[in-house]
């Protein structure tokens, strides 16, 4: 399928139109969230304008209230806040740990841990969901269908924090291993030792990258017990990666279990609907093999509603991660949001909400593009 000629330009025009629309949606979201923050008294709201730690002292706060006119009408405040945001200041989060940090810095520090989970969870959900859904539809009422159906309902009914706790308990009871947190302490010590270069911030990647590119610096290192100076464990660059990987497994399992259920159901019903369409009879009447009919003709049409759902699910991962990261003590964006909610840290909640909206909007855009690529009927919209 070549992308030259009139089809390409119509696709590009479509993307541009959606982009403009989505900018408006993001603005709308910021207005909504800002409106919610207006329910708070000015001294709490002042934190949205703070840039660094010195400004958190109480006399400074009064100055800020006056400076930014936090008692002025809504639209004035919104305008000022928006211009501030566009200059890069999202406020000060006191729940960010160790005395607080600016929201922007917090995001920068915490996103790698969230990313570690999402980068595995998202593809697994999508591909496993599509595969099982298609198989369930093809062998309707067969074993895969029944099992996946019951499994889906069960998976979707379980509270994510409960599953997480159960898994941690089970793993500890069975193997005696503590898989809480993103990585073991020994690996943390290793990474803080000289020679280990932080490239991306994501532990899994950094370990591998160090192993490949920074060979000469640190080889196998022994981690000693602080008091007795005895060697506690051996670790290495790749060991760090592996360690991080094992700690990511359980959170990914929890997230996948909850979300893949929905995708399977939708893929299955969409596939069944596509298989009942008239053009499938045409395809068979042309003498095509059964696999070609199923995968080339039916599945491509069936993927259309699934694409939309996948985008929403991936965007929704940010919400589910609030709970999962808390349970597994991952210092990512999710647990930061949870802590901020409890401690009434307005800038943090605000920042997280805007971030999620942003992610959602980008996910929608990608889905729209995919959608237009798969289904040519949409481009003329």
């Amino acid at each position: 399928m070549c992308l030259m000629g009139p089809r390409m330009t119509s696709l590009v025009a479509y993307i541009l139109r959606r982009l403009i629309l989505l900018v408006f949606v993001i603005l709308g979201v910021t207005v909504l969230i800002f409106a919610i923050t207006m329910m708070f008294p000015p001294d709490i709201r002042a934190y949205m304008y703070i840039r660094n730690a010195e400004q958190t002292r109480s006399n400074v706060i009064q100055e800020l209230i006056d400076k930014y006119g936090l008692n002025d009408p809504f639209y004035l405040q919104y305008g000022r806040w928006l211009s501030q945001v566009l200059q890069g200041n999202l406020g000060w989060s006191h729940a960010a740990g160790s005395g607080g940090a600016s929201v922007v810095d917090s995001i920068r520090a915490k996103w790698p841990y969230t990313f570690e989970i999402v980068m595995f969870a998202a593809p697994i959900i999508i591909f496993v969901g599509i595969f099982i859904g298609v198989q369930a539809a093809i062998h309707r009422n067969g074993v895969i269908d029944q099992v996946s159906r019951v499994g889906s309902i069960i998976g979707w009914s379980l509270p994510s924090f409960w599953v997480g706790m159960l898994l941690l308990t089970a793993v500890t009871a069975a193997f005696g291993v503590n898989l809480r947190g993103p990585i073991n302490e020994s690996s943390i010590g290793y990474m803080q030792s000289t020679g280990f270069v932080r490239v991306t911030g994501v532990d899994i990647f950094d370990g591998v990258l160090n192993a490949i590119f920074y060979q000469g610096r640190v080889h196998v290192s022994a981690v000693t017990n602080a008091t007795s100076s005895q060697i506690v464990s051996w670790t290495s660059d790749l060991g760090v990666s592996l360690d991080a990987l094992t700690h990511v497994v359980l959170p990914v399992i929890v997230i996948v279990t909850i979300d893949v259920a929905l995708l399977i159901r939708v893929m299955r019903s969409s596939m069944l609907e596509a298989l009942g369409k008239p053009y499938i009879i045409t395809a068979k009447a042309k003498g095509l093999k059964k696999n070609v009919v199923i995968y080339k003709h039916a599945r491509r049409n069936a993927l259309i509603p699934v694409a939309t759902l996948s985008g929403m699910l991936v965007a929704g991962l940010l919400g589910g991660l609030i709970i999962t990261e808390t349970v597994f003590s991952f210092p990512g964006l999710g647990s930061w949001a949870a802590a901020s909610a409890v401690q009434v840290d307005i800038p943090a909640v605000l920042g997280y909400a805007i971030l999620s909206a942003f992610v959602f909007v980008i996910a929608n855009l990608i889905v729209d593009i995919l959608y237009a690529y798969i289904d040519p009927r949409i481009r003329l919209d």
Partner: protein, 370 residues
């Protein structure tokens, strides 16, 4: 018109196992299609015309099951289609027997272009031919290299895995050109204007008449012996309908195709068909030459049908009663409750399908056969 029979449907029995019960959709259907003729299959909605045509290609969808009978296909040496294996059926569909349907845009896949869908059927059945043509063209240009070798290998062994693998990554431009040219040629043959542009269009961009032509082109792409047309003009405007009917007639005249034309419109039958088979409630009740049928209809149902055609100045006449339920049907002739001539035996035993006059068959006790 030769006397050779392209397809003979004998005693076809099809049942549908539904939630509501077992529907006896077809109960001993007999049909013969002769070479080079257009046979019309007429009947009201639900009488089993579509099921009959789908059975010829073994495409009856579940919960339907073909339970008995034979369908002899002359091209395969008189083999019984109902007993063919999967591979033979697939090689037959689209190549020996093609089918076109009622709502063309619904029967085309909306996410692929016209060219994609037509070339698809050509690649299934005529692939080797395209390889040969590509090889000839390349040899004429005295080019050497990978492309030529790939084609040679694939021409000798179309199922070759290595060949297919390499072929997918080499550019195969000559091959694609050959296929594209053939698609355009086929589109031209069904009188589609500006075929190069239409080839790149998607089904939802086509008008009804255009889409139906595309579907016909797709059906003819591999020069089938027989074409089944299931109410192809029912959803189209009358003017477009006339064009399509002309096209169908040309197919018979120029290409000597044998066509099974299914419709519920007697006007269309009169215009286009050479012979007609009338179906009622899962049985063929009468078969005859078209003039013979309109001139001297034998079966009471045919007579009632012809009488119910509205004419100016004539009072409306409809057939009293309704079509019987096909779940647990009553014994005997299925027209018994609406037939003005019903006799005792009609209620008990189904009348046989006999040749009453030369070339004129009817299933009715009025003409003997007890």
């Amino acid at each position: 018109m030769s006397q050779k029979n392209v397809v003979e449907v004998q005693n076809l029995d099809v049942k549908f196992y539904t939630y509501a019960g077992v529907v006896e959709a077809l109960d001993g259907v007999n049909l013969t299609l002769r070479e080079g003729e257009i046979l019309g299959l007429v009947g009201e909605t639900g009488c089993g015309k579509s099921v009959t045509s789908l059975s010829i290609l073994m495409l009856v969808p579940p919960p339907g099951r073909i339970e008995g009978g034979k369908i002899r296909f002359d091209k395969q040496g008189g083999a019984d289609i109902l007993r063919m294996n999967d591979a033979s059926l697939r090689s037959m569909r689209g190549k020996d027997i093609s089918m076109i349907f009622q709502e063309p845009r619904a029967y085309l896949n909306p996410v692929y272009t016209v060219e994609d869908q037509i070339s698809e059927v050509m690649l299934v059945h005529r692939q080797v031919e395209f390889f040969s043509k590509a090889i000839q063209a390349l040899q004429a240009r005295k080019s050497k290299g990978l492309e030529l070798n790939v084609y040679r290998r694939l021409a000798k062994n179309p199922e070759s895995r290595i060949g297919g693998f390499i072929g997918r990554f080499s550019r195969k431009r000559q091959f694609k050109d050959e296929v594209r040219n053939e698609v355009v040629r086929v589109l031209k043959s069904v009188e589609i204007p500006d075929p190069e542009r239409v080839a790149h269009m998607y089904p939802h961009e086509l008008s009804g008449g255009m889409a139906q032509r595309v579907v016909i082109a797709m059906a003819l792409a591999c020069y089938p012996t027989m074409l089944i047309a299931d109410e192809p003009t029912t959803n189209l405007d009358v003017t477009v309908q006339a064009q399509i009917l002309n096209l169908v007639k040309q197919l018979r005249d120029n290409f000597k195709s044998s066509i099974l034309y299914i419709t519920h419109d007697l006007g269309v039958v009169a215009q286009v068909c050479d012979r007609v088979a009338v179906m009622y409630a899962g049985n063929v009740v009468e078969t005859a030459d078209v003039f013979e049928l309109f001139g001297s209809p034998l079966h009471p149902y045919t007579r009632a049908l012809l009488e119910s055609i509205p004419r100016p100045g004539k009072a409306f006449k409809s057939i009293p009663g309704i079509v019987p339920s096909l779940i647990n049907p009553l014994s005997g002739c299925r027209f018994r409750d609406r037939c003005p001539y019903a006799m005792e035996i009609c209620l008990k035993v189904k009348p046989p399908f006999d040749e009453v006059k030369k070339g004129h068959f009817a299933a009715c006790y009025l003409y003997g056969g007890s």
